[in-house]
């Protein structure tokens, strides 16, 4: 009987190994090729921009680009743990921390657009035309007065968009902790951008959103943009290769090459045009030429990184 159990176990194990190998193989011969692992914020991935960029990159170099998409919070966390080679995020405060703590090589701004404040068509709090911080303050005041009528739905997930929301409360002279616990009008969704938009639409509430996700969902929503292109709503995307000094196993060379594609003519043109053929207008603006506007000074300004940047950092 022991023999039989052993036989069955051995068979099951062989089956398991075969399946695992086959699953790995089905990744188009992964394993032989070099791998570049990127963790990215959802907006770049969900719009499909990054997939386009990957195709170009994979044609240029013999490499498999593997993209893991999540909020800026988790994307940075992957970088801190050395699980990815490059991060593409949009939260300048945490980006600077990431580099100061030694995890990141350098910050390159490559694209931007604007956050928008969206809400129900009838705009019950009357924020249309205001500046963003003023609008946020008005939503809060109106929300506390009539919580059934005016609501704000927050991402509440430590994403880049959530971080910007906190900055806006601060700019309005309010304390975020007090705001979030001040009543039923403030809805802490704890979800990604898409689900948060759907929730805001169901609740007839306001929310802060990036333009690209809003355009993707527009058809399913009873929401309209109320505040757009306000300079306090600037949304800058930056690329940071993970530093080989702290994480020797990262593929820094490839990460640098990918950054250099993003900031090249080809990359910047793609960013500036992306979305025109699907929704009729570009979803992002190229960082090239607008560095002063978006607050990316000197070497952060859409410039190629030096080929030797990695070995220099590792040494």
């Amino acid at each position: 009987m022991k023999g039989k159990v052993l036989q069955i176990s051995a068979l099951a194990l062989i089956l398991a190994l075969l399946c695992t190998a086959a699953a790995a193989e089905s990744g188009a011969g992964a394993g032989q090729k070099e791998r570049l692992k990127i963790s990215t914020t959802t907006s770049l991935y969900d719009t499909g921009l990054l997939e386009e960029m990957e195709k170009i990159f994979e044609e240029m170099y013999n490499v498999d680009v593997h993209t893991v998409s999540g909020g800026t919070g988790i994307a940075i966390q992957y970088g801190v743990r050395g699980d990815v080679d490059l991060i593409l995020v949009h939260d300048v405060v945490r980006e600077r921390n990431f580099i100061d703590e030694g995890h990141g090589l350098s910050r390159s701004c490559f694209a931007y657009n604007y956050f928008i404040i969206v809400g129900p068509k009838d705009d019950p709090a009357g924020i249309a035309g205001m500046k963003a911080p003023e609008a946020m303050k008005t939503i809060m005041e109106q929300g506390m007065e009539s919580p059934g009528l005016v609501r704000f739905v927050s991402r509440g997930d430590d994403s880049g968009t959530h971080a910007r929301e906190k900055l806006l409360w601060k700019a309005a002279g309010l304390d975020y902790e007090e705001v979030r616990s001040s009543g039923r009008w403030y809805v802490d969704a704890g979800k990604g951008m898409g689900p948060t938009l759907l929730m805001a639409s169901e609740l007839a509430g306001y929310t802060l959103c990036d333009t690209s996700t809003f355009e993707a969902f527009r058809g399913d929503l009873a929401l309209v943009p109320l505040i757009e292109e306000d300079e306090t709503l600037l949304n800058v995307y930056a690329a940071i290769p993970v530093s080989p000094a702290v994480h020797p196993a990262v593929n820094c060379e490839m990460a640098v090459k990918f950054v250099n594609l993003l900031v090249s003519e080809v990359g910047q043109d793609l960013i500036a045009e992306y979305g025109t053929d699907t929704i009729g207008k570009p979803l992002f603006k190229a960082a090239r030429g607008d560095c002063d506007l978006i607050g990316c000074s000197g070497d952060e300004c859409a410039m190629p990184l030096a080929e030797g940047a990695c070995s220099l950092a590792a040494a």
């Binding site: 009987m1 089956l15 399946c19 699953a23 992964a30 969900d46």
Partner: protein
């Protein structure tokens, strides 16, 4: 619907990958859970009740918790980081195996307990040794044990926590049905998500039908 009917290559690829990973996890988990369940059922020792209690508690282990745990193990900064298993299909198999071993072990014990002592007694009275008696009970319990394996397979195929956190939902590499559904939903493509969901349910149905048929034909 069109995507299913026309067998869109991307959809087929994702479906095949889902199946391979779930089968691999279930196969490994079976080699752990069935002997472990047998050991626990046929031996009496101090603390046995406590272990069974723990196993039963682990039935309801949330998949994201297992995902987080395995992520911390396999991450470059974790104890097993050197193997580079994070964001690979191999890592997903490790995570799903950990996820389904408790429920398969528990159900194996339940399957064996379902065989009355009479079977053992009559086997022994017919001159069977203890080993032969254990074998007889396992043979008698095969249908219920098959159900344990199937349930494990179903959980591995349908879970999203481990697949997302360990696999990372990488296109063409670790994207499976459940993570693709999560992604397409967040992209706003509800129809595509529904199509994938239908495939997932259909697979479960087909596997169940097949197993019923096999059991009916050859085993009883």
């Amino acid at each position: 619907m069109e995507l299913i009917l026309t067998l869109d290559p991307a959809v087929v690829e994702i479906t095949v990958r889902s199946l391979l990973i779930a089968v691999a996890s279930t196969a490994i988990a079976t080699t752990i859970a069935v002997p472990a369940g047998g050991l626990l059922h046929f031996h009496n020792f101090w603390g046995k009740r406590a272990i069974i209690n723990i196993i039963q508690t682990l039935y309801s282990l949330p998949t994201v918790t297992v995902g987080l745990l395995v992520f911390l193990l396999l991450s470059r900064s974790g104890p097993l980081g050197g193997f580079g298993l994070l964001f690979t299909p191999g890592g997903m198999v490790v995570g799903q195996t950990i996820l389904i071993v408790p429920i398969m072990t528990g159900l194996t014990i339940a399957a064996l307990s379902g065989i009355t002592d009479q079977v053992r007694d009559s086997a022994i009275s017919l001159g069977a040794s203890k080993r032969q008696a254990i074998f007889t009970i396992m043979v008698e319990a095969r249908a219920a044990m098959m159900a344990a394996v199937l349930l494990g397979f179903g959980r591995a195929l349908s879970e999203v926590g481990v697949a997302m956190m360990i696999g990372g939902n990488i296109q063409g590499y670790t994207r499976v049905l459940t993570t693709a559904i999560a992604l397409e939903t967040s992209r706003g493509d509800i129809e595509f998500s529904m199509a994938l969901g239908i495939i997932l349910v259909s697979i479960s149905l087909i596997v169940n039908l097949l197993v019923n048929r096999v059991q009916g034909r050859w085993w009883t």
